[in-house]
Amino acid sequence: MSVAERTVEIAPAPDRLPRLLTETAAKWVSLAEHRRRAGPIPRVGRRPRIDIIDAAGRAGLRGKGGGAFPTGQKMEAVAAGPGRPVVLVNGAEGEPASGKDKLLLTRAPNLVLDGAQIAAAAIGAREVIVCVDRHANGALASVRRALSERAAAEPASVPVRLVGVPSHYVSGEETALVRWLSGGDAKPTTPPKPYERGVGGRPTLVDNVETLAHLAQIVRWGPTWFRSVGTRSEPGSTLLTVSGAVGRPGVYEVPMGASLARVLQRAGAIDGEVSAVLVGGYFGTWLSAEQSATAHLSRADLVRFGGDLGPGVVVALPRDACGVVEAARVVSWLAASTAGQCGSCMHGLASLAESAGAVARGRARRDAAMQLLRWAEQIEGRGACRLPDGAARFLRSSLATFQHEFDRHLRGAHCPEQRHVLPLPNPARDTWR
């Protein structure tokens, strides 16, 4: 079916997945075409639109950037703050194994921008700032093009500023974005949080791009439609970036609570070829092959394994990779990703990285695993941001899931010919300004 044939006066609500990234979205969708399908954006008035906040709440929408905070609640808090609020669209996506936000911005920028306008209406904001990784050229170009089309066709909408932000892992953290927008380094800060005092000292709603795309569809088709997939406590759909030992890596949209085994099957994982699965990114949790056979992609189920969905990252580790080597690589990368502000993070992660590296090379003392666990406990909760906490969780989970491999390495084994699976961008390639 061609794009033209699908065009109707009032598009019906999609009755199945995908909702966010439809097959026609593989092509550039003009604003006129997008409007026919997605409907008009609501007017922005003087007051917050309680009905929009209420719809987000009834839909049960939660943030898709990793924190899973209830979106309606956040909008309510920002709208209640003093002064004219700001909407900050977070498309920084610093998680190395995540690509869903960049894909969404590249394929369906108008859906995200609609969501931003709707969020602005909801909280009474007169300014929207879209933050995108400054090395994500495709996403930046796509948003720029959509914005110029919108500026010509919809002059009444809230003005949108697009900015390319530093690529560091912690730069996408909301306080880091606010600090950078105020002329500082893109490094996290201690409270106040942006919802209290953000850009220009004003209450700032920071929402992930996927969250806003869902919001646009909820306002268009209603909370009941949104809840028609997913689970009762975690409704709707979610985007996953699936990679590793799969034949068809990429971004998949699945109902919340989907079976991990089915997701892996859909992505072309071969039975018996996957030794473990990383869920939630580098702040996330490893599931053994056995655990991943029964796991469901919801917070309610992943809590069984001490994990959560994070920003929707799923990496299948192939049998011929080594969990110890991968853990050491990631911890070393996390150590290099520190903003260098908090002593326990800066020095603690460096110690962890050095020790984990020694274990991977078969050069560690026999009690190195105990020391790693002790350090993980020491750094938890000790930073301005969650980097040390994430590293501690990742390391603990690595030690538990790859216990036998760690034991072998602690007895002197090393895996020099091992293939490397988890992606590690070069943290030194960007500045903090």
Binding site: T190, C342, G343, H347, G348, I379, R382, A384
Partner: protein
């Protein structure tokens, strides 16, 4: 009013004065940075807490309402 001790991890330089003056609630990690017990500070310890806060060379330590 109950108070608790908080350290700003960005401001803190790991001088360690707080752990020396208020070992009841502050210990140091393996890298010399303070691990601060966030439980409410009772009346009996308030003077010690205030002394530690005042002695921090970079003003990273403060008493906050619990």
């Amino acid at each position: 009013m109950t108070l608790r001790l908080r350290v700003d991890p960005i401001v803190c330089d790991g001088h360690g004065v707080c752990a020396e003056l208020f070992p009841e609630r502050v210990s140091l990690d393996d890298w010399g940075y303070p691990i601060v017990d966030s439980d409410a500070i009772g009346r009996d310890l308030l003077d010690h807490a205030r002394r530690a806060v005042a002695a921090c060379p970079v003003l990273a330590l403060r008493l906050e309402r619990a």
